[in-house]
């Protein structure tokens, strides 16, 4: 019966093939005119934001420990931990979306996110371990 049903339904292979969307391979540049849906771009932005946060936080932490922190850090919050956290979040939010918008069409940007994240975690850990 299954065989009969299959035999009775006309199958237009050419029309099925026409419905398949060809997407660019990961890590390859997008062809001109192609669009990327919002989901992957937003996720990539979050990854860039996290990398930015870790570097900003680590940098401000080192600046605070060495006594060369910018004056605006104290203006944000009286407790340095909170001030650095807020500045790190705000900076990463502002920086991540333009950076992600510029990078997402580049050849190796998506593939580099994992490595950049891992490198940032290690650098952050070394910075706060070395200088408390």
């Amino acid at each position: 019966m299954v065989a009969n049903a299959r035999a009775e339904i006309p199958l237009n292979v050419a029309s099925h093939r026409a419905n398949v969307t060809v997407l660019p391979r990961a890590g390859r540049a997008l062809p001109a005119g192609d669009t990327v849906v919002a989901g992957p771009r937003a996720r990539f932005s979050v990854g860039v934001a996290c990398v930015t946060f870790l570097w900003i936080y680590g940098g401000l932490h080192l600046a605070h420990a060495w006594g060369v922190e910018p004056p605006f850090v104290r203006a944000v919050a009286p407790i340095p931990l909170f001030a650095i956290f807020i500045i790190g979040l705000a900076t990463s939010a502002f920086v991540s979306f333009p950076v992600a918008y510029l990078l997402i069409g580049k050849r190796r940007a998506p593939a580099s996110l994992s490595r950049a994240l891992a490198l940032s975690i290690v650098a952050f850990s070394l910075a706060v371990t070395w200088v408390p």
Partner: protein, 146 residues
């Protein structure tokens, strides 16, 4: 805020911290395979570590005034450990939510295929840093509390 309330929050912060640390290893383990879905585990672990961080932030101003000077007077090395612990905790919270954002909704499509790998890296980093924070926090709590 009375000392009793601060002590209660401190104990809840410590217990919840270890629970959140263990919870973070769950998505870190599951997401080693990029096609695996673990949204519930990821969100729950991130929520737990955020609640832990929120409790820590609540008692941190009082800690700086009451406990920190006593720790540095009694055992400066332990005080230095705590100064590191708080930074590890902050990074664990941020990495956990980054892992959630990278994991939720990621599809095995060509352009999106790297997001699950980055989510795995974020959760492994969050779990390791949360472990360090919990260990250092326990050492500090043995030395001095509210």
């Amino acid at each position: 805020v009375s000392g009793g309330v601060l002590r209660a929050i401190e104990h809840a912060h410590g217990d919840l911290g270890w629970l959140a640390t263990l919870a973070l290893y769950h998505p870190a383990f599951l997401l080693r395979r990029p096609r695996r879905r673990a949204v519930g585990a990821a969100v729950a672990a991130a929520a737990l570590v955020t609640a832990t961080g929120a409790l820590g932030a609540m008692i941190y101003p009082a800690y700086r005034v009451v406990v920190k000077p006593a720790i540095f007077a009694a055992a400066p090395l332990v005080g230095e450990l705590f100064e590191r612990k708080e930074h590890f905790g902050v990074a664990a919270v941020v990495l956990a939510w980054t892992g959630v954002a990278l994991h939720v909704g990621a599809r095995p499509e060509p352009f999106d295929v790297r997001a699950p790998r980055a989510a795995f890296v974020a959760f492994v980093g969050a779990a390791v840093l949360a472990t360090l924070a919990a260990l250092l926090g326990s050492i500090v709590a043995v030395t001095q509390t509210f």
